[in-house]
């Protein structure tokens, strides 16, 4: 499997995202990869856009099986969610369960005007009726493999393919 260049994929995401930005758009990144993406995207959009982060640890549907994740970070939505057009940003879209949890959490902050979803990679394998509006790259993978976005210290992205445990 030859993986695309993560930086080139990021550039595709940026270009596809730009036309969607309006005066009351907010970008909300899902920890950790989604937040990295938001922080790289924001200065490149050419206009001020609200920033939020979500850690969905408290909303996961596998809590009963796996317990609370050791590393959870505070979610931060520092703007009024009411009437905002929110674009959720995540790195790798897989089953759709993370996005469901993120939407549940967002609604506990208020009632947004709309929520859309932009992802760097759609790897296939969804288990819920959730489809991203923006996909920078389609990389269909078998269940036995796991694609991860990594960020090096200079902020640059790269992909890593691992066998799932």
């Amino acid at each position: 499997m030859i993986l695309p260049d993560a930086e080139a994929t990021f550039e595709v995401l940026l270009q596809k995202l730009k036309p969607l930005i309006t005066d009351n758009t907010a970008l909300v990144g899902i920890h950790s990869g989604g937040v990295w993406l938001v922080d790289r995207l924001l200065p490149l959009l050419g206009r001020p856009v609200a920033r939020g982060t979500l850690d969905i640890s408290f909303y996961r549907d596998d809590f009963d099986q796996r317990g609370l994740r050791a590393e959870n970070k505070p979610s931060q939505i520092p703007f009024d969610v009411q009437d905002q057009h929110i674009i959720l940003i995540d790195d790798v879209f897989h089953t759709g369960r993370t996005i469901r949890a993120a939407m549940n959490e967002l609604f506990d902050y208020g009632r947004p005007a709309s929520i859309s979803l932009a992802v760097l990679v759609d790897r296939g394998g969804r288990e819920l009726p959730i489809v991203p509006q923006i996909v920078a790259a389609d990389i269909p993978l078998p269940v036995s493999q796991n694609l991860q976005l990594l960020q090096s210290e200079d902020g640059r992205f790269h992909f890593e393919l691992k066998d799932s445990i």
Binding site: D55, F58, G67, N72, P74, S75, N104, E105
Partner: protein, 317 residues
């Protein structure tokens, strides 16, 4: 020796004491509590983690603040909460603690929050319950009150993030204080370099210095240059001997007044686990003053208890 609070793979299953808890678990509780502080500031202050679970608060000894904050914490995690105030008269009907627990287990309780006047009560229950049930000690005799110790440490960390560079003084009735013991274990495990206890000899346990603290009998000397002052409540109800001449005399020697507070660092914070005896261990001017973080302690208590409950609920043996 196997720590009865941990699962075989080292995860937190019950919270009975801060003693013997690894630093990594203490930090995980504090970090998770940090995430829950934000939840309380949202429009909807609930998360669905404990949906469908039943938490029983069983208080064999009176408490308002602790019971209420445990109740709020469980409700904000979406659990169902039952509060039982079991006073001595109903115990005298003859039911043992373990029978009470078995009956509640038969009603499908998932978690017990226990306060009892006897040291070791929560421990006894933890050894008795089925593998999927969790026990939190909400104060047992003079032994431990781990969530209070943790919320105090959490409050300190929020105001003084550099824990490795702190001088903390605990003042007052250390002898009868389960809070003091829980704080001392948590602080030393987290690497706070200097923990002082300031009290008359009659209110200190024997060999208290073995807990890794420095002992002062003179409050003025002990408060010098400290970053954190934790006042302890004078436990009137636990005193059954003449340990003190009088409350007035105690206030004179060990009460925190603005003038004694001035001996600590200028940005020192003042804490008290409550309930306060104003004019006995703390002057109102200090309790309500700008260095006091006594009410933030209460607020953070909810986040810390949410963190503990949600960590336990996910770690069945």
């Amino acid at each position: 020796m196997l720590n009865p609070q941990l699962t075989p793979d080292g995860k937190l299953r019950h919270l009975l004491s801060t003693e013997g808890l690894p630093r990594a678990i203490l930090n995980q509780i504090l970090d998770t509590a940090e995430s829950f502080v934000g939840v309380a500031e949202r429009e909807v202050k609930k998360v669905p983690l404990l949906r469908g679970k039943t938490v029983c608060n069983i208080f064999f000894e009176n408490s308002t603040r602790t019971r209420t904050t445990f109740e709020i914490a469980a409700k904000r995690l979406s659990a169902d909460v039952i509060n039982l105030n079991v006073n001595t008269s109903s115990q005298s009907k003859g039911e043992t603690i373990l029978d009470t627990i078995d009956n509640l287990t038969a009603m499908h309780a998932d978690m017990f929050v226990i306060r009892h006047a006897q040291s070791g009560a929560a421990h006894l229950i933890a050894q008795h319950v089925a593998p999927h049930i969790h026990v939190i000690n909400a104060g047992d005799g003079r032994h431990a009150h781990p969530t209070q110790g943790l919320l105090d440490v959490f409050t300190i960390r929020r105001y003084k993030p550099d824990m490795h560079n702190l001088r903390v003084a605990l003042v007052g009735d250390v002898l009868h204080s389960r809070v003091a013991r829980s704080e001392i274990h948590a602080l030393t495990t987290l690497g706070v370099p200097e923990v002082r206890v300031i009290a008359p000899k009659t209110l200190l346990p024997q060999h208290v210095e073995k807990l890794g603290v420095q002992v002062y009998h003179d409050m003025r000397e002990g408060l010098k240059d400290v970053d954190v002052i934790m006042m302890l409540r004078l436990q009137n109800e636990r005193m059954n001997g003449a340990l003190l001449p009088s409350a007035q005399e105690y206030f004179k020697c060990y009460g925190l007044t603005p003038e004694k507070l001035a001996l600590a660092k200028p940005d020192a914070i003042v804490m008290h686990p409550g309930p306060m005896n104003r004019g006995v261990e703390i002057d109102s001017a200090v309790a309500d003053g700008k260095q006091s973080v006594i009410l933030p302690q209460v607020t953070y208590g909810i986040a810390v208890r949410m963190a503990v409950m949600s960590m336990l609920a996910g770690n069945s043996a």
